[in-house]
Protein backbone atom coordinates (compact mmCIF):
# COMPACT_ATOMS: atom_id res chain seq x y z
CA UNK A 1 0.00 0.00 0.00
CA UNK A 2 1.20 3.46 -0.82
CA UNK A 3 0.86 6.08 1.85
CA UNK A 4 1.23 9.82 1.44
CA UNK A 5 4.78 10.51 0.29
CA UNK A 6 5.06 6.92 -0.91
CA UNK A 7 7.41 4.36 0.35
CA UNK A 8 6.59 1.05 1.93
CA UNK A 9 5.54 0.78 5.53
CA UNK A 10 8.31 0.63 8.06
CA UNK A 11 9.76 -2.83 8.34
CA UNK A 12 7.90 -4.15 5.31
CA UNK A 13 10.94 -4.56 3.13
CA UNK A 14 13.52 -5.22 5.80
CA UNK A 15 11.94 -8.62 6.23
CA UNK A 16 13.89 -9.69 3.15
CA UNK A 17 16.08 -12.75 3.62
CA UNK A 18 19.72 -11.95 4.29
CA UNK A 19 20.82 -13.33 0.95
CA UNK A 20 18.64 -10.68 -0.72
CA UNK A 21 19.88 -7.78 1.34
CA UNK A 22 23.10 -5.85 1.38
CA UNK A 23 25.42 -5.86 4.39
CA UNK A 24 24.48 -3.16 6.94
CA UNK A 25 27.61 -1.14 6.13
CA UNK A 26 26.74 -0.97 2.43
CA UNK A 27 23.15 -0.06 3.25
CA UNK A 28 24.32 2.69 5.56
CA UNK A 29 26.77 4.13 3.05
CA UNK A 30 24.25 4.13 0.20
CA UNK A 31 21.59 5.74 2.38
CA UNK A 32 24.05 8.37 3.58
CA UNK A 33 25.09 9.22 0.02
CA UNK A 34 21.46 9.54 -1.06
CA UNK A 35 20.61 11.74 1.91
CA UNK A 36 23.62 14.02 1.37
CA UNK A 37 22.46 14.51 -2.22
CA UNK A 38 18.94 15.37 -0.96
CA UNK A 39 20.42 17.74 1.62
CA UNK A 40 22.59 19.60 -0.90
CA UNK A 41 20.03 19.93 -3.66
CA UNK A 42 16.65 20.00 -1.91
CA UNK A 43 16.79 20.71 1.81
CA UNK A 44 19.40 23.46 1.86
CA UNK A 45 17.72 25.44 -0.98
CA UNK A 46 14.43 25.21 0.94
CA UNK A 47 16.16 26.21 4.14
CA UNK A 48 17.93 29.20 2.65
CA UNK A 49 14.70 30.63 1.18
CA UNK A 50 13.10 30.88 4.62
CA UNK A 51 16.31 31.86 6.43
CA UNK A 52 16.91 34.78 4.08
CA UNK A 53 13.21 35.73 3.93
CA UNK A 54 13.00 36.16 7.71
CA UNK A 55 16.65 37.24 8.08
CA UNK A 56 15.73 40.86 8.83
CA UNK A 57 12.76 40.12 10.99
CA UNK A 58 9.02 39.85 10.61
CA UNK A 59 8.36 43.53 9.90
CA UNK A 60 10.74 43.57 6.95
CA UNK A 61 9.13 40.34 5.73
CA UNK A 62 5.60 41.66 5.88
CA UNK A 63 6.66 44.97 4.33
CA UNK A 64 8.19 43.10 1.36
CA UNK A 65 5.16 40.90 0.91
CA UNK A 66 2.45 43.54 1.35
CA UNK A 67 4.21 46.28 -0.60
CA UNK A 68 2.00 47.57 -3.50
CA UNK A 69 4.16 46.19 -6.34
CA UNK A 70 4.24 42.77 -4.70
CA UNK A 71 0.46 42.82 -4.30
CA UNK A 72 0.02 43.82 -7.94
CA UNK A 73 2.31 40.99 -9.01
CA UNK A 74 0.25 38.58 -6.91
CA UNK A 75 -2.94 39.89 -8.51
CA UNK A 76 -1.52 39.48 -12.02
CA UNK A 77 -0.32 35.95 -11.32
CA UNK A 78 -3.68 35.00 -9.79
CA UNK A 79 -5.56 36.45 -12.77
CA UNK A 80 -3.32 34.64 -15.27
CA UNK A 81 -3.71 31.35 -13.42
CA UNK A 82 -7.49 31.76 -13.21
CA UNK A 83 -7.68 32.20 -16.99
CA UNK A 84 -5.13 29.52 -17.90
CA UNK A 85 -6.20 26.63 -15.69
CA UNK A 86 -9.88 26.37 -16.79
CA UNK A 87 -8.91 26.58 -20.48
CA UNK A 88 -6.27 23.88 -20.16
CA UNK A 89 -8.69 21.83 -18.08
CA UNK A 90 -11.23 21.90 -20.92
CA UNK A 91 -8.51 21.05 -23.40
CA UNK A 92 -7.22 18.22 -21.23
CA UNK A 93 -10.67 16.67 -20.84
CA UNK A 94 -11.47 16.97 -24.56
CA UNK A 95 -8.12 15.53 -25.63
CA UNK A 96 -8.28 12.68 -23.12
CA UNK A 97 -11.88 11.85 -24.12
CA UNK A 98 -11.02 11.71 -27.82
CA UNK A 99 -7.82 9.72 -27.30
CA UNK A 100 -8.93 7.24 -24.67
CA UNK A 101 -12.48 6.47 -25.80
CA UNK A 102 -12.10 6.27 -29.57
CA UNK A 103 -9.92 4.72 -32.26
CA UNK A 104 -8.67 6.92 -35.03
CA UNK A 105 -5.79 7.31 -37.41
CA UNK A 106 -2.86 9.44 -36.23
CA UNK A 107 -3.53 9.00 -32.51
CA UNK A 108 0.16 8.69 -31.66
CA UNK A 109 0.90 11.84 -33.61
CA UNK A 110 -1.76 13.66 -31.61
CA UNK A 111 -0.30 12.44 -28.31
CA UNK A 112 3.16 13.61 -29.43
CA UNK A 113 1.76 17.00 -30.44
CA UNK A 114 0.11 17.43 -27.04
CA UNK A 115 3.44 16.73 -25.31
CA UNK A 116 5.40 19.03 -27.61
CA UNK A 117 5.54 22.09 -25.31
CA UNK A 118 7.50 19.99 -22.80
CA UNK A 119 10.40 19.67 -25.23
CA UNK A 120 10.49 23.33 -26.21
CA UNK A 121 12.50 25.74 -24.08
CA UNK A 122 10.18 28.17 -22.25
CA UNK A 123 12.19 31.04 -23.74
CA UNK A 124 11.51 29.77 -27.26
CA UNK A 125 7.83 29.23 -26.34
CA UNK A 126 7.56 32.86 -25.32
CA UNK A 127 9.46 33.97 -28.38
CA UNK A 128 6.86 32.34 -30.66
CA UNK A 129 4.30 34.88 -29.47
CA UNK A 130 6.75 37.75 -29.98
CA UNK A 131 7.19 36.57 -33.58
CA UNK A 132 3.42 36.57 -34.03
CA UNK A 133 2.34 39.69 -32.14
CA UNK A 134 5.52 41.72 -31.46
CA UNK A 135 6.17 45.10 -33.10
CA UNK A 136 8.15 43.38 -35.88
CA UNK A 137 5.96 40.26 -35.77
CA UNK A 138 3.56 38.94 -38.38
CA UNK A 139 0.48 40.59 -36.89
CA UNK A 140 2.41 43.41 -35.17
CA UNK A 141 1.68 46.28 -37.61
CA UNK A 142 -1.97 45.24 -37.94
CA UNK A 143 -2.39 45.20 -34.15
CA UNK A 144 -0.52 48.50 -33.77
CA UNK A 145 -2.87 50.23 -36.22
CA UNK A 146 -5.85 49.14 -34.18
CA UNK A 147 -4.23 49.93 -30.86
CA UNK A 148 -4.48 46.37 -29.55
CA UNK A 149 -1.74 45.46 -27.10
CA UNK A 150 -0.83 41.78 -26.85
CA UNK A 151 2.92 41.70 -26.28
CA UNK A 152 4.17 43.30 -23.04
CA UNK A 153 0.62 43.00 -21.70
CA UNK A 154 -1.74 40.50 -20.11
CA UNK A 155 -2.80 38.67 -23.33
CA UNK A 156 0.72 37.51 -24.18
CA UNK A 157 1.42 36.53 -20.56
CA UNK A 158 -1.71 34.38 -20.68
CA UNK A 159 -0.84 32.93 -24.10
CA UNK A 160 2.73 32.05 -23.11
CA UNK A 161 1.54 30.44 -19.86
CA UNK A 162 -1.20 28.54 -21.74
CA UNK A 163 1.35 27.20 -24.19
CA UNK A 164 3.78 26.01 -21.52
CA UNK A 165 1.15 24.40 -19.27
CA UNK A 166 -1.15 22.97 -21.95
CA UNK A 167 0.05 19.32 -21.69
CA UNK A 168 -0.31 19.02 -17.91
CA UNK A 169 -4.01 18.11 -17.47
CA UNK A 170 -4.15 16.04 -20.68
CA UNK A 171 -1.07 14.07 -19.66
CA UNK A 172 -2.63 13.23 -16.30
CA UNK A 173 -6.01 12.20 -17.74
CA UNK A 174 -5.04 10.20 -20.84
CA UNK A 175 -3.34 7.26 -19.07
CA UNK A 176 -5.96 7.32 -16.30
CA UNK A 177 -8.94 7.16 -18.68
CA UNK A 178 -7.21 4.54 -20.80
CA UNK A 179 -6.61 2.28 -17.81
CA UNK A 180 -10.16 2.74 -16.51
CA UNK A 181 -11.80 1.64 -19.76
CA UNK A 182 -15.24 2.68 -21.00
CA UNK A 183 -17.53 -0.13 -19.82
CA UNK A 184 -19.45 2.02 -17.34
CA UNK A 185 -19.98 4.76 -19.91
CA UNK A 186 -21.10 2.29 -22.57
CA UNK A 187 -23.52 0.74 -20.10
CA UNK A 188 -24.96 4.14 -19.19
CA UNK A 189 -25.50 5.06 -22.85
CA UNK A 190 -27.01 1.65 -23.62
CA UNK A 191 -29.42 2.12 -20.72
CA UNK A 192 -30.58 5.37 -22.26
CA UNK A 193 -28.54 8.09 -20.58
CA UNK A 194 -27.69 11.05 -22.77
CA UNK A 195 -24.10 11.83 -23.66
CA UNK A 196 -23.96 14.77 -21.28
CA UNK A 197 -25.53 12.76 -18.44
CA UNK A 198 -23.04 9.95 -18.99
CA UNK A 199 -20.16 12.38 -18.96
CA UNK A 200 -21.26 14.28 -15.86
CA UNK A 201 -22.56 11.38 -13.78
CA UNK A 202 -20.23 8.55 -14.82
CA UNK A 203 -17.00 9.86 -16.34
CA UNK A 204 -16.34 12.88 -14.14
CA UNK A 205 -16.69 10.95 -10.85
CA UNK A 206 -14.42 8.23 -12.26
CA UNK A 207 -11.61 10.62 -13.08
CA UNK A 208 -12.08 13.20 -10.34
CA UNK A 209 -8.75 12.55 -8.61
CA UNK A 210 -6.89 12.69 -11.90
CA UNK A 211 -8.67 15.96 -12.70
CA UNK A 212 -7.80 17.33 -9.27
CA UNK A 213 -4.14 16.38 -9.66
CA UNK A 214 -3.98 17.80 -13.18
CA UNK A 215 -5.42 21.09 -11.93
CA UNK A 216 -2.87 21.21 -9.08
CA UNK A 217 0.04 20.65 -11.46
CA UNK A 218 -1.28 23.14 -14.00
CA UNK A 219 -1.85 25.80 -11.33
CA UNK A 220 1.58 25.30 -9.80
CA UNK A 221 3.26 25.62 -13.16
CA UNK A 222 1.16 28.67 -14.15
CA UNK A 223 2.04 30.47 -10.94
CA UNK A 224 5.73 29.66 -11.25
CA UNK A 225 6.28 30.01 -15.00
CA UNK A 226 9.30 32.20 -15.58
CA UNK A 227 11.11 31.78 -18.90
CA UNK A 228 8.16 32.10 -21.28
CA UNK A 229 6.57 34.93 -19.34
CA UNK A 230 9.91 36.68 -18.99
CA UNK A 231 10.17 36.97 -22.80
CA UNK A 232 6.71 38.40 -23.40
CA UNK A 233 6.18 40.50 -20.27
CA UNK A 234 8.53 43.41 -20.90
CA UNK A 235 9.11 43.66 -17.13
CA UNK A 236 6.95 46.74 -16.60
CA UNK A 237 6.92 46.95 -12.81
CA UNK A 238 3.45 46.83 -11.34
CA UNK A 239 1.84 46.18 -14.73
CA UNK A 240 3.33 43.09 -16.36
CA UNK A 241 5.45 41.59 -13.60
CA UNK A 242 4.15 38.28 -12.30
CA UNK A 243 5.35 37.06 -8.90
CA UNK A 244 8.39 35.14 -10.24
CA UNK A 245 9.40 38.16 -12.34
CA UNK A 246 8.98 40.39 -9.29
CA UNK A 247 11.35 38.09 -7.40
CA UNK A 248 13.86 38.34 -10.25
CA UNK A 249 13.72 42.13 -10.34
CA UNK A 250 14.13 42.46 -6.57
CA UNK A 251 17.07 40.05 -6.64
CA UNK A 252 18.78 41.88 -9.50
CA UNK A 253 18.38 45.13 -7.54
CA UNK A 254 20.21 43.49 -4.61
CA UNK A 255 17.08 43.62 -2.46
CA UNK A 256 17.82 40.07 -1.37
CA UNK A 257 15.62 39.97 1.73
CA UNK A 258 12.61 41.26 -0.18
CA UNK A 259 13.31 38.86 -3.06
CA UNK A 260 13.44 35.89 -0.69
CA UNK A 261 10.38 37.09 1.23
CA UNK A 262 8.29 37.06 -1.96
CA UNK A 263 9.99 33.83 -3.04
CA UNK A 264 8.96 32.25 0.25
CA UNK A 265 5.31 32.69 -0.77
CA UNK A 266 5.98 30.70 -3.93
CA UNK A 267 7.89 28.13 -1.91
CA UNK A 268 5.01 27.65 0.52
CA UNK A 269 2.70 27.18 -2.44
CA UNK A 270 5.08 24.55 -3.83
CA UNK A 271 5.08 22.73 -0.48
CA UNK A 272 1.27 22.77 -0.41
CA UNK A 273 1.34 21.32 -3.94
CA UNK A 274 3.53 18.46 -2.74
CA UNK A 275 1.21 17.73 0.21
CA UNK A 276 -1.85 17.70 -2.09
CA UNK A 277 0.00 15.40 -4.47
CA UNK A 278 0.71 13.02 -1.62
CA UNK A 279 -2.96 13.14 -0.67
CA UNK A 280 -4.10 12.29 -4.21
CA UNK A 281 -1.69 9.36 -4.40
CA UNK A 282 -2.91 8.13 -1.05
CA UNK A 283 -6.54 8.27 -2.24
CA UNK A 284 -5.61 6.47 -5.44
CA UNK A 285 -3.90 3.70 -3.47
CA UNK A 286 -6.98 3.32 -1.22
CA UNK A 287 -9.14 2.98 -4.32
CA UNK A 288 -6.82 0.41 -5.86
CA UNK A 289 -6.95 -1.60 -2.67
CA UNK A 290 -10.74 -1.44 -2.56
CA UNK A 291 -10.92 -3.26 -5.87
Amino acid sequence: MRLPFGGPKRGEKTGRPRSLNEPPLVRGLLTAAALIFILLFLLLPLGIVFTKAFGEGWSMYSRSVFEPYALRAIRLTALTTLIVVPLNLLFGIAAAWAISKFDFRGKNLLVTAIDLPFSISPVISGMLFILLFGAQGFFGPWLLERGIKIVFALPSIVLATLFVTSPLVARELIPLMRSQGSEEEEMAVTLGASGLQTFLKVSIPKMKWGLFYGVILCSARSVGEFGAVSVVSGHIRGLTTTVPLHVEMLYNEYQFTAAFAVASLLTMLALVTLVLKGLVEWRASLRDEGR
Binding site: K101, L128, A220, V247, A263
Partner: protein
Protein backbone atom coordinates in the same frame (compact mmCIF):
# COMPACT_ATOMS: atom_id res chain seq x y z
CA UNK B 1 -7.65 0.90 -37.45
CA UNK B 2 -11.03 -0.69 -36.95
CA UNK B 3 -12.82 2.61 -37.43
CA UNK B 4 -15.17 1.48 -34.68
CA UNK B 5 -16.51 4.51 -32.87
CA UNK B 6 -18.42 2.49 -30.27
CA UNK B 7 -21.61 3.64 -28.65
CA UNK B 8 -20.09 6.60 -26.85
CA UNK B 9 -20.96 10.07 -28.10
CA UNK B 10 -18.82 13.17 -28.21
CA UNK B 11 -16.03 12.17 -30.57
CA UNK B 12 -16.67 15.05 -32.95
CA UNK B 13 -16.89 17.65 -30.21
CA UNK B 14 -13.87 16.41 -28.23
CA UNK B 15 -11.68 15.89 -31.28
CA UNK B 16 -12.79 19.14 -32.88
CA UNK B 17 -12.01 21.17 -29.78
CA UNK B 18 -8.66 19.41 -29.27
CA UNK B 19 -7.52 20.08 -32.83
CA UNK B 20 -8.79 23.67 -32.80
CA UNK B 21 -6.96 24.36 -29.51
CA UNK B 22 -3.71 22.73 -30.64
CA UNK B 23 -3.95 24.52 -33.96
CA UNK B 24 -4.32 27.94 -32.39
CA UNK B 25 -1.92 27.49 -29.51
CA UNK B 26 0.77 25.25 -31.03
CA UNK B 27 0.66 25.01 -34.81
CA UNK B 28 0.25 28.68 -35.67
CA UNK B 29 3.03 29.86 -33.31
CA UNK B 30 5.39 27.08 -34.44
CA UNK B 31 4.48 27.84 -38.03
CA UNK B 32 5.43 31.46 -37.36
CA UNK B 33 8.88 30.31 -36.22
CA UNK B 34 9.49 28.32 -39.41
CA UNK B 35 8.06 31.08 -41.60
CA UNK B 36 10.21 33.70 -39.87
CA UNK B 37 13.29 31.51 -40.29
CA UNK B 38 12.53 31.20 -44.01
CA UNK B 39 12.58 34.97 -44.37
CA UNK B 40 15.95 35.36 -42.67
CA UNK B 41 18.76 36.16 -45.08
CA UNK B 42 20.73 32.88 -45.45
CA UNK B 43 24.07 34.62 -44.95
CA UNK B 44 22.86 36.29 -41.78
CA UNK B 45 21.42 32.93 -40.65
CA UNK B 46 24.74 31.15 -41.19
CA UNK B 47 26.75 33.97 -39.63
CA UNK B 48 24.58 33.93 -36.49
CA UNK B 49 24.74 30.17 -36.09
CA UNK B 50 28.49 29.88 -36.64
CA UNK B 51 29.48 32.86 -34.53
CA UNK B 52 31.76 31.99 -31.64
CA UNK B 53 29.25 33.23 -29.09
CA UNK B 54 26.44 31.02 -30.44
CA UNK B 55 28.66 27.95 -30.68
CA UNK B 56 29.90 28.51 -27.12
CA UNK B 57 26.28 28.76 -25.92
CA UNK B 58 25.34 25.54 -27.76
CA UNK B 59 28.34 23.74 -26.28
CA UNK B 60 27.51 24.88 -22.74
CA UNK B 61 23.79 24.07 -23.05
CA UNK B 62 24.28 20.56 -24.43
CA UNK B 63 27.34 19.83 -22.29
CA UNK B 64 25.88 20.99 -18.98
CA UNK B 65 22.54 19.28 -19.66
CA UNK B 66 24.40 16.05 -20.44
CA UNK B 67 26.56 16.19 -17.30
CA UNK B 68 23.54 17.04 -15.14
CA UNK B 69 21.51 14.20 -16.66
CA UNK B 70 24.41 11.81 -15.94
CA UNK B 71 24.60 12.97 -12.31
CA UNK B 72 20.85 12.49 -12.06
CA UNK B 73 21.17 9.07 -13.68
CA UNK B 74 23.57 7.87 -10.97
CA UNK B 75 21.93 9.60 -8.00
CA UNK B 76 18.43 8.91 -9.34
CA UNK B 77 19.14 5.17 -9.34
CA UNK B 78 20.69 5.45 -5.89
CA UNK B 79 17.73 7.41 -4.51
CA UNK B 80 15.18 5.06 -6.06
CA UNK B 81 17.06 2.08 -4.58
CA UNK B 82 17.39 3.57 -1.11
CA UNK B 83 13.75 4.75 -1.07
CA UNK B 84 12.37 1.41 -2.22
CA UNK B 85 14.64 -0.98 -0.37
CA UNK B 86 15.87 0.57 2.86
CA UNK B 87 14.36 2.05 5.96
CA UNK B 88 15.42 5.30 7.56
CA UNK B 89 13.77 8.08 9.56
CA UNK B 90 11.57 10.55 7.64
CA UNK B 91 11.69 8.34 4.58
CA UNK B 92 8.18 9.28 3.41
CA UNK B 93 9.04 12.94 3.77
CA UNK B 94 12.20 12.51 1.69
CA UNK B 95 10.22 10.58 -0.91
CA UNK B 96 7.69 13.41 -1.17
CA UNK B 97 10.42 16.01 -1.29
CA UNK B 98 11.92 14.43 -4.43
CA UNK B 99 9.15 16.13 -6.43
CA UNK B 100 10.12 19.58 -5.15
CA UNK B 101 11.86 20.60 -8.41
CA UNK B 102 8.56 19.97 -10.25
CA UNK B 103 6.66 22.22 -7.86
CA UNK B 104 9.13 24.98 -7.01
CA UNK B 105 9.17 27.91 -9.46
CA UNK B 106 12.49 27.90 -11.28
CA UNK B 107 13.30 31.50 -10.37
CA UNK B 108 13.08 30.62 -6.68
CA UNK B 109 15.33 27.61 -7.23
CA UNK B 110 17.73 29.88 -9.09
CA UNK B 111 18.15 32.48 -6.37
CA UNK B 112 18.26 29.83 -3.62
CA UNK B 113 20.98 27.80 -5.34
CA UNK B 114 22.97 30.93 -6.15
CA UNK B 115 22.90 32.12 -2.55
CA UNK B 116 23.82 28.63 -1.37
CA UNK B 117 26.72 28.04 -3.76
CA UNK B 118 28.14 31.58 -3.94
CA UNK B 119 31.60 32.02 -2.46
CA UNK B 120 30.16 33.19 0.88
CA UNK B 121 27.15 30.83 0.87
CA UNK B 122 26.43 27.90 3.18
CA UNK B 123 27.92 25.38 0.76
CA UNK B 124 30.06 27.62 -1.44
CA UNK B 125 32.12 28.72 1.59
CA UNK B 126 33.30 25.15 2.18
CA UNK B 127 33.88 24.48 -1.50
CA UNK B 128 35.94 27.67 -1.75
CA UNK B 129 38.36 26.22 0.82
CA UNK B 130 38.87 23.31 -1.57
CA UNK B 131 39.41 25.79 -4.39
CA UNK B 132 36.13 24.89 -6.12
CA UNK B 133 33.96 27.72 -7.38
CA UNK B 134 30.42 26.76 -8.38
CA UNK B 135 28.44 29.99 -8.72
CA UNK B 136 29.17 32.05 -11.85
CA UNK B 137 31.01 29.13 -13.54
CA UNK B 138 29.82 26.30 -15.83
CA UNK B 139 29.66 24.17 -12.66
CA UNK B 140 26.87 26.45 -11.47
CA UNK B 141 24.91 25.69 -14.65
CA UNK B 142 25.38 21.98 -13.96
CA UNK B 143 24.21 22.41 -10.35
CA UNK B 144 21.03 24.23 -11.45
CA UNK B 145 20.25 21.63 -14.13
CA UNK B 146 20.88 18.82 -11.64
CA UNK B 147 18.27 20.35 -9.35
CA UNK B 148 15.76 20.78 -12.15
CA UNK B 149 16.17 17.21 -13.47
CA UNK B 150 16.40 15.46 -10.11
CA UNK B 151 12.95 13.83 -9.94
CA UNK B 152 12.88 12.22 -13.38
CA UNK B 153 15.12 9.16 -12.96
CA UNK B 154 13.88 8.52 -9.40
CA UNK B 155 10.26 8.54 -10.51
CA UNK B 156 10.77 6.36 -13.60
CA UNK B 157 12.91 3.75 -11.80
CA UNK B 158 10.91 3.48 -8.54
CA UNK B 159 7.85 1.61 -9.92
CA UNK B 160 10.04 -0.88 -11.84
CA UNK B 161 12.09 -1.59 -8.74
CA UNK B 162 8.94 -2.02 -6.65
CA UNK B 163 7.43 -4.53 -9.09
CA UNK B 164 10.61 -6.54 -9.56
CA UNK B 165 9.75 -10.07 -8.43
CA UNK B 166 11.83 -11.20 -5.47
CA UNK B 167 11.88 -14.70 -6.98
CA UNK B 168 14.48 -13.82 -9.59
CA UNK B 169 16.81 -12.45 -6.93
CA UNK B 170 16.24 -15.53 -4.79
CA UNK B 171 17.02 -17.75 -7.75
CA UNK B 172 20.18 -15.78 -8.43
CA UNK B 173 21.27 -16.00 -4.79
CA UNK B 174 20.51 -19.71 -4.53
CA UNK B 175 22.59 -20.34 -7.65
CA UNK B 176 25.52 -18.78 -5.82
CA UNK B 177 25.65 -15.25 -7.21
CA UNK B 178 26.78 -12.50 -4.85
CA UNK B 179 24.74 -9.36 -4.26
CA UNK B 180 26.95 -7.28 -6.55
CA UNK B 181 26.76 -9.88 -9.29
CA UNK B 182 22.99 -10.15 -8.91
CA UNK B 183 22.68 -6.38 -9.11
CA UNK B 184 24.78 -5.87 -12.21
CA UNK B 185 23.74 -8.99 -14.11
CA UNK B 186 20.08 -9.12 -13.14
CA UNK B 187 18.61 -6.04 -11.50
CA UNK B 188 20.46 -3.28 -13.35
CA UNK B 189 19.45 -4.51 -16.86
CA UNK B 190 15.82 -4.57 -15.67
CA UNK B 191 16.07 -0.97 -14.47
CA UNK B 192 18.00 0.32 -17.46
CA UNK B 193 15.08 1.13 -19.83
CA UNK B 194 13.27 3.09 -17.11
CA UNK B 195 16.49 4.85 -16.12
CA UNK B 196 17.12 5.72 -19.79
CA UNK B 197 13.64 7.26 -20.05
CA UNK B 198 14.29 9.30 -16.92
CA UNK B 199 17.70 10.32 -18.21
CA UNK B 200 16.16 11.51 -21.49
CA UNK B 201 13.46 13.50 -19.70
CA UNK B 202 16.03 15.12 -17.41
CA UNK B 203 18.29 15.92 -20.36
CA UNK B 204 15.41 17.44 -22.34
CA UNK B 205 14.33 19.50 -19.37
CA UNK B 206 17.88 20.71 -18.82
CA UNK B 207 18.37 21.79 -22.43
CA UNK B 208 15.61 24.37 -22.37
CA UNK B 209 15.88 25.44 -18.73
CA UNK B 210 16.21 29.15 -18.14
CA UNK B 211 14.93 30.38 -14.77
CA UNK B 212 17.07 28.35 -12.42
CA UNK B 213 20.24 28.84 -14.48
CA UNK B 214 20.45 32.56 -15.20
CA UNK B 215 21.04 33.57 -11.60
CA UNK B 216 23.80 31.09 -10.80
CA UNK B 217 25.58 31.14 -14.17
CA UNK B 218 26.74 34.76 -14.14
CA UNK B 219 25.85 35.01 -17.84
CA UNK B 220 29.28 35.83 -19.26
CA UNK B 221 29.26 35.61 -23.07
CA UNK B 222 31.45 32.77 -24.39
CA UNK B 223 31.82 31.35 -20.86
CA UNK B 224 28.60 30.86 -18.91
CA UNK B 225 25.89 31.96 -21.31
CA UNK B 226 23.30 29.25 -22.07
CA UNK B 227 21.44 29.14 -25.38
CA UNK B 228 18.01 30.21 -24.06
CA UNK B 229 19.65 33.29 -22.50
CA UNK B 230 21.37 34.15 -25.78
CA UNK B 231 17.98 33.94 -27.52
CA UNK B 232 16.57 36.23 -24.83
CA UNK B 233 19.38 38.75 -25.37
CA UNK B 234 18.83 38.74 -29.15
CA UNK B 235 15.13 39.39 -28.58
CA UNK B 236 15.88 42.24 -26.21
CA UNK B 237 18.09 43.76 -28.93
CA UNK B 238 15.15 43.38 -31.35
CA UNK B 239 17.32 41.01 -33.43
CA UNK B 240 14.37 38.72 -34.21
CA UNK B 241 16.18 37.17 -37.17
CA UNK B 242 19.16 36.15 -35.04
CA UNK B 243 16.93 34.84 -32.25
CA UNK B 244 14.89 32.83 -34.76
CA UNK B 245 17.97 31.29 -36.35
CA UNK B 246 19.43 30.22 -33.00
CA UNK B 247 16.08 28.93 -31.72
CA UNK B 248 15.37 26.88 -34.82
CA UNK B 249 18.79 25.24 -34.93
CA UNK B 250 18.72 24.63 -31.16
CA UNK B 251 15.29 22.98 -31.41
CA UNK B 252 16.37 20.88 -34.39
CA UNK B 253 19.50 19.58 -32.63
CA UNK B 254 17.54 18.95 -29.42
CA UNK B 255 14.84 16.95 -31.20
CA UNK B 256 17.45 14.96 -33.14
CA UNK B 257 19.28 14.03 -29.93
CA UNK B 258 16.07 13.14 -28.09
CA UNK B 259 14.86 10.98 -30.98
CA UNK B 260 18.23 9.20 -31.07
CA UNK B 261 18.17 8.52 -27.32
CA UNK B 262 14.56 7.29 -27.59
CA UNK B 263 15.48 4.94 -30.44
CA UNK B 264 18.43 3.58 -28.44
CA UNK B 265 16.39 3.03 -25.29
CA UNK B 266 13.59 1.38 -27.29
CA UNK B 267 16.14 -1.12 -28.51
CA UNK B 268 17.40 -1.75 -24.99
CA UNK B 269 13.80 -2.22 -23.83
CA UNK B 270 13.58 -5.36 -25.98
CA UNK B 271 16.85 -7.04 -25.13
CA UNK B 272 17.87 -10.15 -26.99
CA UNK B 273 18.86 -11.86 -23.76
CA UNK B 274 15.22 -12.52 -22.94
CA UNK B 275 15.18 -15.20 -25.66
Amino acid sequence: MSGRRGVLPGFGLAMGFTLWYLGLLLLIPLGALVLKAATVDPEKFAATITSGRTLAAFRLSFGAALVAACINGVFGLLLAWVLERYDFPFKRLVDGLVDLPFALPTAVAGIALTTLYAGNGWVGRHLAVLGVQVAYTPLGVVAALTFVGLPFVVRTVQPVLRDLPAAIEEASASLGAGRLQTFFRLIFPELLPAAATGFTLAFARGLGEYGSVIFISGNMPMKTEITPLLIMIKLEEYDYAGATAIALVFLAISFAILLAINALSLRSAHPVRRG
